[in-house]
Symmetry: C2
Subunit: 191 residues, 2 copies
């Protein structure tokens, strides 16, 4: 049977992770989000906590990172390399849904890989953040924007395409049209 690989990038608070889980459940295939890091930990021998710390911070100082990378890859880059290897192996081995972690970029040459991006208006994301994430920040909009910036910076550091730009994806959905509809559209796209 042909394998189905779906990557899902998402704005913070857009419900992308929830949609991804639901798609995996209905297709009866694996779901990887933080689960990926476990595999990277096995692969590299790094502790999970260490990976979590280093994963999304390629740029304490971008110039310093770039400079030192000439000599040897930074820790973040090593984590990225190990993670990419795990992503490619998973996509080889099994049907799965992969959330975040530049998976669409890593699998850009892979056939039968649907690349999805989920977004939503800020108002909607604030509502979701308040309802589901139990965030105690006063300035939720600011917090959301910061989280997105971190995702974009991680993606744009390693990627050739831009995070969230439609050209990087097969399908971009505004989840404000309904989570269930998003799930159904993704199922349609791979059926």
């Amino acid at each position: 049977m042909k394998k189905t690989v779906i990557t899902i990038g998402r704005e913070y608070g857009s419900g992308g992770r929830f949609i991804a889980k639901e798609v995996a459940k209905r297709l009866g295939i694996s779901y990887y989000d933080k689960e990926l890091l476990n595999k990277v930990a096995e692969e590299t021998g790094f502790a999970l906590e260490f990976l979590e710390d280093n994963e999304k911070k390629p740029t304490g100082s971008l110039i310093f990172d770039r400079y030192s990378a000439v000599a040897s890859p930074t820790l973040s880059e090593q984590v990225f390399i190990a993670q990419s290897k795990v992503i490619r192996e998973l996509a080889e081995q099994e049907s799965c849904v992969l959330v975040g972690r530049c998976a669409d970029y890593v699998l850009r040459e892979q056939e039968n890989c649907l690349k999805v991006f989920i977004y939503a208006p800020m108002k909607e994301r604030v509502r979701r953040a308040e309802e589901f994430y139990n965030i105690e920040e006063r300035n939720i909009e600011g917090y959301i924007t910061k989280r997105d910036k971190a995702r974009a910076s991680y993606y744009n550091y390693f990627g050739v395409s831009r995070w969230g730009a439609r050209e990087s994806y097969d399908l971009c959905i505004n989840s404000a049209i309904g989570i269930e509809r998003c799930v159904e559209m993704i199922l349609d796209a791979v059926k």
Copy 2:
């Protein structure tokens, strides 16, 4: 019964118009593309050919247009205003699919309006342009880029949002995943 209004913006050669027609057909609702101009002609008394000439050229000189618009709207702006009125009336009266013409921008406050954008990689658009449009240009890529620029310039002149930027739409689909799939996803989104 609740009305269904779907606006479809598209990159040149992406198959967006074909998808739009198919969606309208399957839903059994009206389809407006150039048909809109007939209604604008009725509304304004302008001849159809005149409208076609003035419709997509707001900017011979942007500065001049803006400058003269302080005194009175330019012809392009008058056409845009008449067109917007027709779009709003149609969306009030009946379920329909509207292609291009900033319809998503005109209907930005309208409820039950699905805003779709169809795009595709250049390679795919060149293939479609050669297969379906019988274009005799030597430099098809250049021709496609020029057509897109005209659409973007028209949209960005009148719109507050950017042409083709996902934030302006509910759903952006890369038609390379298959025309039939695009149609089904749009039907899913409004069902």
